[in-house]
């Protein structure tokens, strides 16, 4: 007896969604499902292929359980501990940020020394704004290429959504980083007495704040310690952690600093307070929406999609 080609393809897709890039493991799992289904179909039970598939999947264990077990298998492949990963990521981003932010700072110093003003350094400021995310994206890509089985292994992803799109997720996170660092610099530098584009020191801390948020999200989504939290709880925790860090960065003088044109260092909140009376409200609204809404929307969409997929997956197993 042989299963239909359509069913064999379906089995392979299911196995791929669990094992991700590990093709040998996916083939092995597909073979397992095929064997089990043939046992059901040849064993005298009145089942069709679809019913046998549902039964075989149910006996295999839930997709989340099995993919979590495979992910732990890959975690062992990586010699780096979570602490090492965090330190290397943080250090790499810090280097990228410092490097890119030093460029406009050097340009300002050069302008002042040669022309007596910093007017022509805006171009360098924009270059620095672009260089930061680009350098970060490159570093991020290199880090993930080295540690892709562990850093972005998303074993408990409901419906296999995140697991099946690890590469896309990586790109989205990197783009998010690029947007996040680029948008506020472009927005404020054109309308404020507070100079962000020319401040090397002032932008490092907010960048680190973003990095912390990113790492929280990645760590919780990646199951590096084999935690058994559901995807929903991981995303919720990441979102809450990020929100707390955001709140701290707005209020704490330690976490978020700006350097004004007269060289004084002030908190982000004070900068916004100074800026408000003279700001163009349309620009401020644009800045705020560009700053926060994409993240809120991304979390909301991710939660919604995961919840829908989770329910569908559970419904599939309930039938069994």
């Amino acid at each position: 007896m042989r299963l239909s080609d359509e069913m064999l393809a379906k089995i392979q897709d299911y196995a791929n969604s669990i094992c991700g890039n590990d093709r040998d493991a996916a083939q092995e799992l597909a073979n397992h499902l095929e064997d089990e289904m043939l046992d059901y179909l040849e064993g005298g039970r009145k089942l069709d292929e679809e019913e046998a598939f549902v039964l075989a999947r149910a006996h295999l264990g839930t997709r989340n359980e099995v993919s979590a077990a495979f992910a732990e298998d890959h975690v062992d492949e990586c010699g780096a501990t979570r602490t090492q990963r965090v330190w290397v990521c943080a250090f790499a981003f810090l280097i990228a940020t410092v490097f890119a932010r030093l460029l406009p700072g050097i340009a300002v110093a050069y302008d002042i020394a040669t022309k007596g003003s910093a007017s022509s350094s805006i171009g360098w400021g924009l270059f620095g704004d672009l260089a930061t995310p680009i350098a970060s994206v490159v570093l991020f890509g290199l880090l993930l290429a080295r540690w892709s089985p562990t850093v972005l292994q998303v074993p408990a992803a409901a419906g296999g959504l995140l697991q099946a799109s690890r590469g896309k997720l990586t790109t989205l996170v990197a783009l998010g980083l690029a947007l996040h660092l680029a948008v506020p610099s472009f927005g404020l530098s054109t309308q404020s007495v507070v100079s962000i584009a020319t401040s090397s020191f002032g932008m490092i801390l907010p960048a680190l704040w973003f990095l912390c948020g990113l790492l929280i999200a990645l760590l919780w989504l990646s199951n590096v310690d084999g935690r058994r939290a559901s995807v929903r709880n991981r995303i919720r925790t990441a979102a809450i952690g990020w929100a707390i860090l955001s709140a701290l960065s707005l209020t704490s003088p330690i976490l978020s600093l700006r350097t004004s044109v007269d060289g004084a260092i002030q908190t982000n909140l004070r900068s916004i307070w100074d800026l408000l009376p003279r700001a163009d409200l349309d620009q401020l609204a644009l800045f705020t929406s560009a700053f926060f809404l994409p993240y809120l929307a991304a979390f909301a969409i991710a939660l919604f999609v995961l919840r829908v997929r989770d329910r569908r997956a559970q419904a599939g197993f309930e039938i069994a």
């Binding site: 092995e28 073979n31 295999l60 099995v66 077990a69």
Partner: protein
């Protein structure tokens, strides 16, 4: 019981493979037959265990054509695997003796 099953998965897997090299599905069937309903494994979790054993050099995996003509990944125990199995079996036996010595008198049975 769940914790005990989890802790013994590696040893049981090694034991089954030590008797005869086999592929995943058949290993599971043999384990379930031996367990006789006392426990059942979540089938999908066997493969990560096999892969870990392979990485540690305790089993060796080879793709071969099975009886049905389909390619299957066969696992065979290695010399290091036999040593590890013996060590783990000794630990289990020792632990079992300790538990029996402590618990049985408390339950009023023979130690």
């Amino acid at each position: 019981m769940k914790e005990l099953i989890g802790a013994s998965t590696e040893l049981i897997t090694l034991g089954v493979i030590a008797r005869e090299p086999d592929y995943g599905y058949r290993i599971l069937r043999r384990v379930n037959e031996a367990a006789a309903g006392v426990f059942t494994w979540a089938e999908g979790t066997l493969y990560p265990v096999l892969h870990k054993l392979e990485k540690r050099g305790l089993v060796k995996a080879t793709w071969k054509e099975g009886e049905s003509g389909r390619r299957r990944r066969y696992y065979a125990i290695t010399a290091a695997g036999r040593v590890a199995m013996k060590e783990q079996a000794t630990q289990w036996t020792s632990m079992s003796d300790i538990v029996r010595a402590v618990i049985m008198p408390a339950l009023g049975g023979a130690s």
